[in-house]
């Protein structure tokens, strides 16, 4: 018989994980779709009953997002504009049913190239907290997600939280997702941007692109080019595909060719930046 455990404490969970290899189950929105028509016979550690693992707290030097925090929790949390991009991403993960149970941590651990959580969290300089038998460790998100379905998590470790460092109070952020339909859609490309202004110009910019390489990537060339640029609607308009070339390596698949992905990724970057510069968020919406 396979086992299913749903402990109430982290210690218990870690002890179980140290004992035997277990598949971790949170919101189940990646777990169940992978098992359609197949037996449900994994040994499971359900982490949704663990006390204190859910929720967002401000610890002074940064925010802590617990592992079982859902997308809806993020949408409904009272957070500064720094998190607008993450909230926009949260609203576009699946439909409301997915947002109500799916977790940010699950999204990262599942490590899909199209995971909508990765670009905004990269742009937030998020760190991942992993707890194992020998205690906890922290990794920058970029060192945690290693490839398609591949992370730095050891089998006996649990992702317990994400840490978002504080940024300037007037930091702004955005997220743009391109898909072939309105709701419930896998991203063809998505872009997340955080800007910390300094004297009406860009103090620092953090830009990440997803679905255009095995793992979403920060765009160092773009970030460097933006530094000191005036913070207005012209922001980012000089960005071309060349700025993205070293950072991303899109593939061609049913959703679009590699060329197309380069092309639209650059467009999305320009749009997100231009809109943030102009004080908006970047969706081109016109009244019908």
């Amino acid at each position: 018989m396979a086992q299913y455990v749903r402990p109430e404490s982290l210690e218990e969970a870690l002890a179980l994980l140290a004992d035997a290899p277990l598949t971790i189950l949170a919101g189940g929105t990646d777990y169940y779709p992978a098992r359609v028509g197949k037996p449900l016979d994994d040994d499971l550690l359900d982490i949704t009953g663990i006390d204190g693992l859910r929720g967002i707290s401000d610890g002074g030097d940064g925010w802590r997002i617990g592992a079982t925090t859902t997308w809806t929790d993020v949408i409904e949390a009272d957070l500064p504009p720094l998190f607008d991009g993450l909230k926009l991403a949260a609203r576009e993960v699946g439909g409301v049913q997915i947002q109500n149970v799916g977790t940010l941590a699950g999204n990262l651990c599942n490590a899909s190239p199209a995971a909508d959580g990765v670009p905004p969290l990269l742009s937030l300089d998020a760190e991942v907290e992993l707890a194992g038998p020998d205690g906890a460790r922290r990794l920058p998100l970029g060192e945690f997600v290693l490839g398609n379905r591949e992370t730095a998590r050891q089998a006996d470790e649990l992702l317990t939280a994400l840490h978002i460092p504080k940024a300037a109070d007037d930091a702004v952020s955005s997220f743009l997702k391109l898909g072939a339909r309105k709701y419930l859609v896998i991203s063809i490309a998505m872009v997340a941007v955080v800007i910390e202004p300094a004297d009406g110009a860009v103090g620092s910019a953090r830009v990440a692109v997803g679905s255009c390489s095995a793992v979403a990537q920060r765009l160092p060339d773009v970030e460097a080019a933006l530094k000191g640029q005036p913070l207005d609607a012209s922001l980012g308009q000089q960005i071309t595909q060349d700025h993205l070339t070293g950072a991303i390596s899109p593939i061609s698949d049913v959703r679009g060719s590699a060329d197309y992905r380069f092309d639209v990724a650059a467009t999305l970057v320009r749009r997100a930046l231009g809109a943030l510069g102009a004080g908006g968020q970047g969706q081109l919406e016109t009244a019908a």
Binding site: T29, Y32, G94, Q97, V254, G256, V264
Partner: protein, 914 residues
Amino acid sequence: MNVMNQSLSFTVNGAPVSVHSSPVTRLVEVLRLELGLTGTKVGCNAGDCGACTVLLDGRQVCACMVPVGQVQGRDVQTVEGLGADGALSTLQQAFHKHGAAQCGICTPGMLMAARELLDSTPVPTEQQAMDALGGVLCRCTGYRKIVDAVLDVAATLDETTPDAGAAVGAPLLKIDGKPKLTGEESFGADAAPADSLWCRVVRAPHGRANFTVGDLEAFKAGHPGLEAVISNKDLPGAKLHGVYPVGKDTPVLATGFTRHKGEGVLVLVGDKLTVESIRDDDLPIDWSPLEPVYGVEAALAEGAPLVHDDKPGNILTGGFLQKGDVDAALAAADHVAEGSWQTSFVEHAYIEPEAGWAQRVGDRMEMHVTTQAPYMNRDEVAAILGIAQEDVRIVPTAVGGGFGGKLDMSVHVPLALAAWSLDRPVRITLERPESMASSTKRHPARMTATAGCSSDGKLTALRFDGDFDTGAYSSWGPTVADRVPVHATGPYIVPNVRNRTQAVLTNAPPAGAFRGFGVPQASITSEALYDELAEKCGLDPLEFRLLNVIRHGGETATGQILEHSVGMAECLEVMKPAWVERRAAATAFNENSAVLKRGVGISCMWYGCGNTGIPNPSTMKVGISADGKVTLYNGVMDIGQGPNTIMPQICADAIGIPVNIIGQIHGDTDLTADAGKSSASRQTFVSGRATQLAGEDLRTQILRLANVGDDARIEIVPGEIVVRDGDAQRTIDLRGMATDPNGDVLLGTGTFDPPTVALDENGQGIPYATYGFGAQIAEVEVDTELGTVKVLKIWAAYDVGRAVNPMQLDGQIHGGVAQGLGLALMEEYIPERTENLHDYLIPTVGDVPPIETFLIEDPEPLGPFGAKGIGEQSLIPTPAAIFGAIHHATGARMRHAPATPARVRAAILATRQG
């Protein structure tokens, strides 16, 4: 090994429940199988469709992804908890009022998603409503009516029914609407005897492969709980099946060789857990995969492997039509336009996967399945069991969408084989990926066409060549090959025509019947060519069409003269103001917009109702019992399109009684006569006419018994019929009369077979007794940098002969538009790659724009009270209209459907280079 059961307690709709279950089991399975709450539906088990949406502690969740272990101590609300004491809640009433449920399979999920929103936001905006419903797919309604309902929960429901004689033309609410709203409706997967065994089909994992099967007896012995493993060696009857009387080519179970991924190889029968726990890899099947033949290019290439040894060149069949001299006419034309197009496989994506149960009753087979074609299924099941057709009884369940995909046999095969050999009730529900891999699709087409006209814009010629990828087996491939040449001109007078089609065999799943049978694909070509010709003539696209559309007395490409019911021009006229206004608005918009560009496109369509030049009769019966109950023996399958309401409306007016006193027995082959298939837009026209004839027959009998004149009024009261003719009043006492086996004392029967003349070798003849006509205008906004297309609005005008039920017509048009939009912009089934509703995209609530409909009534004398069909007509013009609009917006001509963002962007870039 499975997870050990635990005792779990929670509340469902306010009542405490406890279950003993594996905590990993999906909540939806516990609700449906343990607690009997089958109102919550399963469409995918993967979060993609939202049919399983319930509220968990007040929040909408997909019950197919919630481990029941997580529900311990929590509160679940399902559709069954919405109404109180059998009455509909205000939300359910609003759904009923707006016709927001067609087949009803998505309705419980929609209702629960809306409930979550309304609990926190009693008066939501349209955007909020859409955001709340974004995770629930509907394939029937086009969503707009659902959104209308959510925004109108305060409305009151008017349930008054029309008086005698006033049913036809009334926007009657769906007669079978309520059970769809309460969750009581029983679909294919919703009921079966408690002691049923479960079966599962082991399917080919490769597109083309040889295989050998090892020792199944030993395998069975090693798996206690497994009652049978059925292979092709165990077939009691025919080894092949197929929808046509001849040319049956589909193996009942594959024999050493498979021609497409998903083909059935073995049937496992046993208890649920056992059958589900066996992995395909566990079975003793040795596969030798071969390179599959995908796409017509590969199939038609020199030396391509043959999909069927007896089909040289991989050509299944072809269609041909010739009229006049097309080459001479094209040479003489003042303007010529030509081009090539290609379309993709389209999946029906009904939200209800194939399901049902069966049992052997003595020497008869009884099968309860979701189907569009009970009689055809009956005959095919009889053949594969080797028994008489009368010894098979098909009792259709409610059908959660069909669109052509539930005509062919699917679960019938495993159910028949298993129940027959084991003599135990057996049930099955397909999982979404196997449904998608094994069921039929819309044919991808590779088409080239050339059209010519005179300098004043009169069409002179059309030449069309189309290769249609028909997949691994015939299915309805021949129908597509036949229908397309007839329709390829569109509803225009074209004196010189030469149309040729081929159905090409490949290793894709069989392409079969799908709303329009190839005509939507073909209309993409001709409508684009006509736009180009209009431009060359300096004519407005709508005016060009008005100049050329077929009118009363006009001759079709098959040489048929259309005398009646040709309201094509009126469809254009009625939309002209919108066309003129929106074309100008688009131009004005584009002057001030660099990236977003708007465009407005138009397409006309026509579509013959019924089979092509071959008989397709329907028989309907209506009886009155000794106690005065009226029963319509309605053999028309309602797959959401509405005949459960429309047939009684027609019947009521034919008899002259109020529609609400008519009871119905639906499509049970033991109890109802053969009303043919729910396909080819034939039911309103053909079965509707049969219903009218049956009603009139009954009326005639009553009037004769009462010995009164034709204008007499009939009133049916318990045990009696009261007939009034002027001042005279007669009473017929029913109680003393002899009853038939159904308990009826009077029975009216009607049979109608539309008059047609078979097509000759040049495609000349009278293929259809009548045609539906219509046109659509699409307004789009293209993001020229990203290539995304947002449809802003659709206008749709249809000549329906007579609008039997304007509300249902509206619903059919909305649903057809949504499917046409999907075909145009996002739907692309790629064998082996997009076998789920995650990778295969259909429109969501945010993708379907407002739709304005116009109904034209140019009566068809053969139709019931003048009516004809709408089912397929509704979809046909949408893709071409959208493509025309994209061209108007950007100058880019879309030559490959679907016009995904990547393809649109590439087409736009190409216009800039050349």
